[in-house]
Symmetry: C2
Subunit: 407 residues, 2 copies
């Protein structure tokens, strides 16, 4: 696998655009389009929240029942959630307009929204935005970046990743973009993520690869514990790489999963590190857990704890909070057997062992916690399973951003 | 039932004291004692965290196996959690010293600690503190207040409540104190709570009344979602009221439960409203839920959401966040049937109905959210069950307090 630059336009045959449509923000891009020159197979995972935004309901139908997908229209600023029949109608009209402009069927168009819940979309401006997008779309890397920028809300950086593999002498590319920042605690998937690939693969295996991979990527991050109403992750594959179509779980399938995993994990980590108000990426790796599921629960419990997050922000080696978060996770263990380490890219420091504090230097521990990427390593000494979760610290700015969000 | 002033010394035969022992803080009270002149039956509920502080392990033994309990020693500043064998030894020595000074058995002494996890208690200062407490203890209301003040950590006010009932011509009193502020998300009970009563009741019914009542009081509050290693709630009954001993669930038992519920609920609400950095008590009442358990899950999900808490802090009627928190709670429901109201002590305002925003005034809604006690009323339109949960808003000061806690 080769890591390359780019995002949703990295794979062959995909175009994108990002334009300013004055949906809620002024003077910034707020609508994006992803388009494939040929029909795609689509796989998707969506929020588990009972309150599902209108575009989530639309997309679930399309992914499940449409023969193919060829375009995605996204807007930022307004989530189109808690908007009743009017909201769903807006999805339909957006898809119809897009279909008419690019000459495809309306049920081949996915839509996605992110932003404030409870407001109606300004349909006239949405439709005008679709016209601009359809006119602007290109297959360049710049066009992919424009799209990645247009889907941002409180994100501070746009998020893209891409990788290539060789299958049967053909180069296959997987690229994606996502947005995160707040209301991030994905359950079945993330806020908004779009992955494109020119691989030839059956729809069933595309969905299986995606569903399996989100468990240890997007579902392992949390910014604030709030699972959004709009979480959507979609993968489109148009087959243009010309590889022998993957219809069974062979070696090619494993190579594809590796590339997909790289893109998903990279985007997920970018999302965690760019959480609202974040000053650091806060990773927790649990090793030697009894089962994989317990490793996941333990690592997620730590990165989800407000007190652990505030300790990272304060560079305070208050290890009891990490131990406490393991303890209330619901997993049973013997605290006397656990070892805790604080780590950054250069150092690893033993903090807790044999049921009490290890003999460590507070100053050095604090220095580690001041790194832009902080890892807490937890050795459970129970078995062979491991898992990693990613979050961010809890800062004044998180509160500021969310107390002032709509004002 | 009559609500009265006072706390742990309100009931007959109970004494208390609060002294400065320099455990961690300087120039403030940090050790407390509760003492009964006669032997008490004891009931307790303790943290469900796998990582249990040494005093929690000590107390569970005492409540389960000691024939009677007569004293409680509490310190604030250091939690005596993650302290290995040395930490447990400290509990034993504290109990032995207390026992020697007041002439009881060491296994009749409960101990409790609250503060930073992972530091060892200064045993010499603890034992010196016990001497002062044993010398100072009194049965006055002031002594009860001194004790309530001594157990505070980041609490801004001390927390006491008391009530009286009449049983068989005798006045029975129930009084209590607690401390909360951070790492508050009780599961089986709260950070530290002590309730005393002069009622005559069997140990079994005392425990049953307590265990039942915490479900809808202390277990329904959350400050930050972190279930502490030290959560302890203990009730001591010395029988001095002289009522006919309650040994079956008769009318007297129901009256006692009412008084106990008043004291527990009042203390729990005080703890929520005085959460770290809080500017408001944030109550969520769910009505017409399908089952009591679903009503509890729904109301707890809303008061536990960082985004809802930040909206309260910002006085932002961003109702989608409340709907979102109901949606990811795990309870299934039809969002189109739910109604949301924002309320304070004077007004109730319909915010969401029929799957979309109601026609409300943003300015008036914001005014309601600026009240010191804010209630979100959720009508599920599914059944007859209801539940209330209490939390607080999320402010800059929460982050400040927890980023700077040990420094």
């Amino acid at each position: 696998m080769k890591i390359i630059e780019g995002g949703v336009t990295a794979a062959q045959g995909f175009e994108a655009a990002g334009v300013a449509a004055a949906i809620k923000y002024q003077d910034r891009k707020d609508m994006a389009m992803v388009y494939s020159r040929t029909p795609c197979k689509a796989a998707g995972v969506f929020t588990s929240n009972v309150v599902k935004a209108a575009p989530v309901r639309w997309d679930k139908e399309v992914v499940a029942h449409s023969p193919y997908v060829q375009a995605v229209i996204v807007n930022s600023g307004i989530a189109n959630a808690a908007t009743g029949g009017q909201g769903y109608d807006c999805c339909r009209r957006t898809a119809e307009k897009t279909a008419e402009l690019v000459g495809i069927s309306a049920d081949a168009v996915l839509v996605a929204s992110t932003g404030v819940i409870g407001s109606q979309l300004p349909i006239d401006r949405i439709l005008a935005g679709v016209e601009k997008l359809a006119a602007d779309k290109e297959d360049t890397q710049e066009a992919g970046t424009m799209a990645a920028e247009a889907i941002m809300t409180t994100d501070t950086v746009s998020k893209q990743a891409a990788a290539q593999i060789e299958l049967g002498g053909r180069t296959v590319t997987v690229g994606g973009m996502c947005k995160g920042a707040g209301m991030i605690h994905p359950n079945m998937c993330t806020m908004l993520g779009f992955v494109t690939t020119d691989i030839a693969i059956s729809k069933e295996l595309l969905q299986e690869a995606l569903s399996e991979d989100v468990i240890d990527t997007f579902n392992m991050i949390s910014v604030d514990g709030d699972t959004s109403t709009n979480d959507t992750l979609v993968v489109l594959s148009n087959g243009m790489a010309g590889n022998p179509e993957i219809t069974v779980k062979n070696e090619d399938y494993e190579k594809f999963k590796e590339a997909l995993h790289y893109v998903n994990e990279t985007l997920a980590k970018m999302m965690a590190g760019d959480g609202e108000g974040a000053t650091a990426l806060f990773e927790t790796k649990v090793i030697h857990a009894a089962t994989k599921q317990e490793a996941r629960i333990l690592s997620r419990s730590v990165i989800g704890s407000n007190l652990c997050k505030a300790a990272i922000y304060g560079h305070d080696a208050n290890f009891g909070r990490f131990l406490c978060a393991l303890g209330y996770s619901g997993v049973n263990f013997d605290p006397d057997k656990v070892e805790l380490y604080f780590e950054n890219n250069k150092k690893s420091m033993l903090i807790y062992k044999d049921g009490m504090a290890a003999d460590y230097s507070e100053a050095e521990a604090s220095q580690i916690l001041a790194s832009p990427e902080v890892r807490v390593l937890v050795d459970m000494h129970m078995g062979d399973a491991e898992s990693t979760a990613w979050g961010c610290d809890l800062s004044y700015d998180y509160v500021k951003i969310n107390a002032d969000y709509r004002s």
